[in-house]
């Protein structure tokens, strides 16, 4: 019987190695898998290469991965934010490396990894400093940049409803990067608001087919005081 449900967050996150590349879904707080992020912090994994549109904010959620110095490298489009000054300091101190890229390029690179496309040309960033050192090529007289697939060892993804095969739906703008990341990682781990009976999700409204998902847990909201303290 195919059943991707796990009994605990610990089991869902089992086997994540130091140095792993980990994608985390979400745009701002919408679609952020906070329970899995908390589990990742508890696991003590180190030297993460994090793929996330931004770096988080405040003293909860994604931001705590940085405050606990768990992140070695960040692939993102928008490292600035309310935590900008601190992020800048961590980079200047040498503990954190950042690869900034346009948001659409980030999305398409992740999508490409999931779809078996190793590289593609995009007009985005041509002629700017984000294209420096990259291969370029003209198509129909317009400059384009060659971008490569961005895959990961692990994806942590927040979903709305799920079934035991791992079929997923998302709610509103919480969808954002989640379907792309679920498909682009070797091991995709999902927290869903609700796990429903097989067959309860209408086949036409499923956004991520279960084939993209490896492990599944029911989501729980992490309270402010559970995040602990860190730099």
């Amino acid at each position: 019987m195919l059943d991707r449900r796990c009994d605990s967050v610990e089991k869902a996150l089992e086997g994540i190695k130091d140095g792993s590349r980990i994608m985390v879904s979400g745009f701002g707080e919408a679609g952020r898998p906070n329970m899995l992020i908390k589990g990742l912090i508890d696991s003590g994994v180190k030297d993460i290469e994090l793929v996330s549109n931004n770096a988080g904010a405040g003293y909860e959620g994604l931001a705590m991965l940085f405050r606990h110095k768990m992140v070695r490298k960040l692939y993102c489009s928008f490292p600035r934010g309310s935590m900008g000054a601190e992020v800048k300091k961590w980079v200047e101190e040498g503990g954190l490396e950042i690869e900034v890229m346009p948001q659409g390029t980030l999305a398409e690179r992740i999508r490409a990894a999931g779809c078996g496309i190793p590289a593609f040309y995009t007009p985005t960033a041509y002629g700017t400093k984000l294209a420096e050192g990259k291969e370029t090529r003209m198509f129909d007289g317009v400059g384009h940049v060659l971008e490569t697939a961005l895959k990961a060892d692990v994806a942590l993804v927040k979903a709305y409803k799920a079934d035991r095969w791992g079929n997923l739906t998302y709610l509103n703008l919480a969808r954002n990067f989640a379907p792309l990341m679920a498909m682009a990682a070797t091991t995709s781990i999902v927290e869903a608001d609700e796990i429903v009976e097989l067959g309860a999700l209408e086949p036409n409204i499923i956004v991520t087919p279960g084939i993209c998902v490896d492990r599944l847990v029911t989501s729980r909201r992490i309270a402010e005081n559970e995040w602990g303290t860190a730099a």
């Binding site: 800048k88 703008l173 969808r175």
Partner: protein
């Protein structure tokens, strides 16, 4: 001679958006365009994080954490809104489907180059977001900005000095002083605030301006809306 307020710039630009257009409004001043869209037109707002048909800010207390815009501010959905993932959202952008994107800018050059994401060459947290995708992808880029920076330096230039966001993509600029088209022959002023002379505007600009026959008056439209 009264320069437009930020709201005045947004309100003026809003008048030029046609019925049926799909429009992305950048973070900051461009967002305010949403407050002045002319009545009776279906204008669909796009946000990079995956929506078309974005509605106004919800009443306090009715925010939903799954309904936010690219600036992470709470939004609502209009009847007819649609939701999609980030790849499709930027497919729509890059694929040239949006009729308009309004961006803020530090600088615009006379060939249409725009600089709006970074003011130093080695900022370790320079943040581009979706600006470069929008700059190459939307059918037209209009810019809203103050005509001069806080020190009075011009932002309308022969060449941008800050790192570029996009090459040759700006079609029109709305400032507190004027509306300016970017044409193959350079900047063309089509509207100017009451009481300002062409020479005064030229003196506050860093590139040669041409003036359209019968330059119009740039009016405050905030009350009209």
């Amino acid at each position: 001679m009264t320069p437009l307020t930020r709201e005045g710039i947004a309100a003026r630009l809003a008048q030029d958006i046609s019925d049926g257009w799909h429009v992305n409004l950048g973070i900051g001043m461009p967002e305010q365009v949403a407050n002045y869209l002319p009545e009776g037109r279906d204008i669909l707002l796009h946000s990079e994080n995956g929506i078309l048909g974005m509605g106004p800010t919800p009443p306090e207390g009715q925010e939903d954490e799954t309904l936010v815009n690219a600036g992470k501010k709470p939004i609502t959905m209009l009847p007819g809104a649609s939701i999609f993932d980030h790849a499709l959202s930027f497919g729509l952008v890059r694929g040239g489907h949006l009729q308009l994107c309004v961006l803020g800018a530090y600088q615009v050059a006379e060939n249409g180059d725009i600089a709006n994401w970074s003011r130093e060459d080695n900022d370790p947290i320079a943040s581009v977001g979706g600006a470069m995708d929008l700059a190459v992808g939307a059918q037209r880029i209009w810019v809203t900005m103050q005509h001069n920076d806080k020190s009075g330096a011009p932002r309308i230039l022969e060449h941008c000095t800050y790192p570029l966001t996009g090459v040759g993509c700006v079609k029109r600029i709305y400032t507190d002083l004027a509306v300016i088209d970017v044409t193959p022959e350079g900047f063309l002023v089509t509207e100017i605030i009451d009481g300002m002379t062409p020479k005064e505007l030229q003196d506050r600009s860093g590139a040669r301006l041409r003036f359209a026959d019968g330059v119009g008056k740039l009016l405050d439209q905030t009350r009209a809306a």
